[in-house]
């Protein structure tokens, strides 16, 4: 028992940023629901998760390159590309829709792999390489969808952006009003998607040699090299994973809006917000510290701000300003650790 307590304490101590972010998120969410006229209802939870899914996926995508100590400026663009691919392919019979979804995910994954190849074998700084490939992704997206549009299956969009009840009801898998089902029926599908895809891939991946190597490279690339870790494989995998998760975001956006939109400003804002979310979630921009679950929490925190704008009366022209200030304060809190370092030189390593 004592051991258990000790290890919990250690885990919290080692993940201070993450812990603070999670506790903060829970408190903010509680307060939000108390203030909201329809608080603690399934509808509000559905709305909250729907609004957050895409940024959560893009933030998770961004986590991998940042853990390496790099940065991926193409995640927003790859998300947009996937969104446009999905909008072109996701209609017709269920099989066609499924194939469309798989091609969408493959597109993003392949794009991430390409990023990795350029970084590893081209030996170009990730920030420059992805800046360039990001433009390529937007270009492709514009080529596929010069004007916003597309026709993603409407029933699918409706079913996947609601609670389980609607999902089951829309497709008639079983009696949606069955007594055994009602305890789960209120759970929002987008929440399940985030949890299953996010946790399901991240947790096992983190434990693999490749996963550990990503952390090692972020902490000290030379030490990782000396230890004989598969550095190239880790880098390739990190960028490929970034592409995959960005594509998940794009796919969901297509389902949510039942269309595709090669919007350059939107892609840019997703990239920047993803970096903010990763930092908010306790991941260090220097690499080696943090994780995807933290980014998930960070992305939710980021969205929580806009939730508050809608239940409180804040001047619309002041909202971007407030958003910026809150973000700055939150990120500064994360940087407080620098005050505790014993040797200031450590900050410049």
């Amino acid at each position: 028992m004592n051991d258990y307590k000790k290890s919990l304490k250690l885990a919290i101590g080692q993940n201070m940023g993450f812990t603070v972010a999670t506790v903060g998120l829970l408190l903010l969410w509680l307060l939000y629901n108390i203030l909201h006229p329809g608080g603690f209802s399934s509808a509000v939870l559905i709305q909250n998760t729907n609004e957050s899914v895409v940024i959560v996926f893009v933030a998770i995508a961004q986590t991998f390159p940042i853990l390496l100590g790099g940065l991926d400026l193409s995640v927003g663009a790859v998300m947009t590309l996937a969104n446009c691919v999905a909008s072109a392919l996701m209609s017709g019979s269920p099989i066609q829709i499924l194939i469309g979804a798989i091609i969408t995910l493959l597109t993003g994954t392949a794009f991430g792999f390409l990023n990795g190849m350029i970084v590893v074998y081209g030996r170009i700084q990730p920030i420059i390489a992805t800046l360039a490939t990001g433009s390529i992704a937007i270009g492709l997206a514009l080529f596929i969808r010069p004007q916003p549009g597309g026709d993603v299956d409407g029933d699918l969009g409706w079913a996947l952006t609601n609670d389980l009840y609607e999902l089951v009801y829309t497709y008639g898998w079983w009696d949606a009003d069955a007594a055994w089902f009602s305890p789960f029926a209120w759970i929002p599908v987008p929440l399940l998607i985030i949890i299953i895809v996010g946790f399901g891939i991240w947790l096992p991946f983190k434990k693999t040699v490749t996963g550990r190597t990503i952390y090692a490279v972020g902490s000290s690339e030379s030490a990782a090299f000396m230890s004989g870790l598969p550095i190239e494989r880790a880098k390739l995998t990190a960028f490929t994973m970034a592409g995959f998760f960005a594509a998940c975001g794009g796919l969901y956006l297509a389902i949510q809006t039942s269309s595709g939109n090669a919007d350059m400003t939107q892609a840019g804002s997703y990239t920047l917000n993803s970096i903010a979310a990763v930092v908010l979630g306790g991941t260090s921009l220097f690499g080696g510290v943090g994780g995807a679950i933290g980014s998930l929490v960070g992305a939710l925190l980021l969205r929580m701000l806009s939730f508050y704008f809608r239940i409180m009366s804040i001047d619309p022209l002041l909202q971007p300003l407030i958003e910026g200030v809150v973000l700055l304060v939150a990120v500064s809190l994360g940087a407080l650790r620098t005050l505790r370092t014993k040797n200031r030189l450590r900050l410049f390593r």
Binding site: Q256, S259, I314, D315, P316
Partner: protein, 375 residues
């Protein structure tokens, strides 16, 4: 318990899901056709169930960061305080979501969840609103996109006819030119943001009239992005390259166009333009020198018409699905300081805020008086 109620409500809603709640398609004519005039002859008519006021109304703006949008937000707030509708609104909220579609959709859904009666919005994309339209219909919320409207006929929308605006621009300039005895010549067209449907439609209208006129018009087109700075630069360049023009057909950034004429010493010629205060000031000042212009604009006051339309719909009136707001036109000889332009307000203020058929009169000073108070 709450969850159970919500669930059973959802169940009831689902059981009648085939017959969507929301507006009923009825036959026209609608209420107050002078103000809420249908877009075309085959425009559908909607009717929502009449309900008791006062209503909760939200405005969900997308991008914020140019003068037009800021003025739109201020107009919305000023109009909500207008004695004509103040008593009909119990709660009024404005949010700007940025260009992120997911956030804008989320905001609309959130206001539906909060029990708002009507949501007025400028869509960030002409597509992708199917889900919130379904939700709005299910919860009997009136959703009113305006300005950047949606590619759907399932919601009530408000806009100005951009092709007609382009036509009037060209008709005015050609009329003035013909009164000077010119039926052919060289014209400068200053276009807006490339790829935008508003730019496309205004230009289309202009060229329709030029083609129909039968005159030999040589048209030089430059792209001014509706921005004063860009327009000034491209117009100066065009004058440097092509020499003198007989007329200018601008559709935005008009302050910059006039400034370029002045700076290059180009003679004052008939022109068209948006409804910027600076442009109207210039028209009043230089009309006698030959700057015989027409000013028609996409008014930030569209938000007020949209709010009015939303309230009218909530009161159970028959409304056209696509509302064409009358174009606010002013020519050089109709300008009056303090009425349709203000010599004491900034140049980039958009002047057209009065729509007499709709009883919407929001004066410039009352908009400018809206500060950064809580909405």
């Amino acid at each position: 318990m709450k969850r159970l109620i919500a669930l059973s409500l959802a169940g009831v809603a689902m059981s009648c899901s085939l017959a969507w709640a929301g507006p009923e398609v009825v036959s026209g004519p609608g209420v107050n056709p002078a103000c809420f005039s249908p877009w075309a002859e085959d425009t559908k008519y909607f009717q929502w169930e009449e309900r008791e006021g006062p209503f909760k109304i939200a405005v969900v703006n997308g991008f914020v960061g140019n003068g037009w949008r800021i003025q739109m937000v201020k107009t919305a707030k000023a109009f909500a305080e207008d004695p004509a509708i103040k008593d009909k609104i119990s709660e009024f909220k404005v949010v700007s979501t940025g260009t992120d579609a997911a956030v804008q959709l989320g905001a609309i859904e959130d206001f539906i969840n909060q029990g708002y009666d009507a949501i007025v919005t400028i869509a960030v994309s002409p597509d992708g609103f199917d889900r919130v339209i379904r939700l709005a219909d299910r919860n009997d919320v009136v959703l009113v996109p305006f300005d950047n409207v949606l590619d759907t006929d399932k919601v009530m929308q408000v806009n100005e006819d951009q092709i007609e605006m382009g036509r009037m621009y060209a008709e005015h300039v050609l009329a003035v030119l013909s009164s000077q005895g010119k039926t052919s010549g060289k014209l400068l067209e200053v276009r807006g943001l490339a790829g935008n449907s508003v730019d496309r439609d205004r230009s289309r209208g202009i060229h329709q009239v030029l083609d129909e006129s039968g005159g030999e018009w040589e048209v030089i087109s430059v792209v001014g992005n509706w921005d004063d700075g860009t327009a000034k630069k491209v117009v100066s360049d065009a004058i440097a390259v092509h020499g003198e023009f007989d007329g200018v057909l601008a559709q935005g950034g008009t302050n910059g166009v006039v400034q370029a004429l002045l700076d290059t010493g180009h003679p004052m010629v008939p022109m068209s333009g948006e409804a910027e205060n600076g442009y109207r000031k210039a028209l009043a000042k230089y009309a006698t020198d030959g700057l015989k212009g027409i000013s028609i604009g996409q008014s930030p006051g569209l938000v007020a018409i949209s709010m009015k339309a939303a309230i009218s719909a909530l009161e159970g009136n028959v409304m056209p699905q696509l509302i064409s707001v009358p174009l606010p036109v002013a020519t050089y000889d109709e300008l009056k300081d303090g009425t349709n332009y203000w010599s004491d307000l900034p140049d980039n203020f958009f002047t057209v805020n009065a729509f007499p058929p709709c009883d919407v009169y929001i004066s410039g000073p009352s908009i400018m008086a809206q500060t950064e108070d809580n909405s």
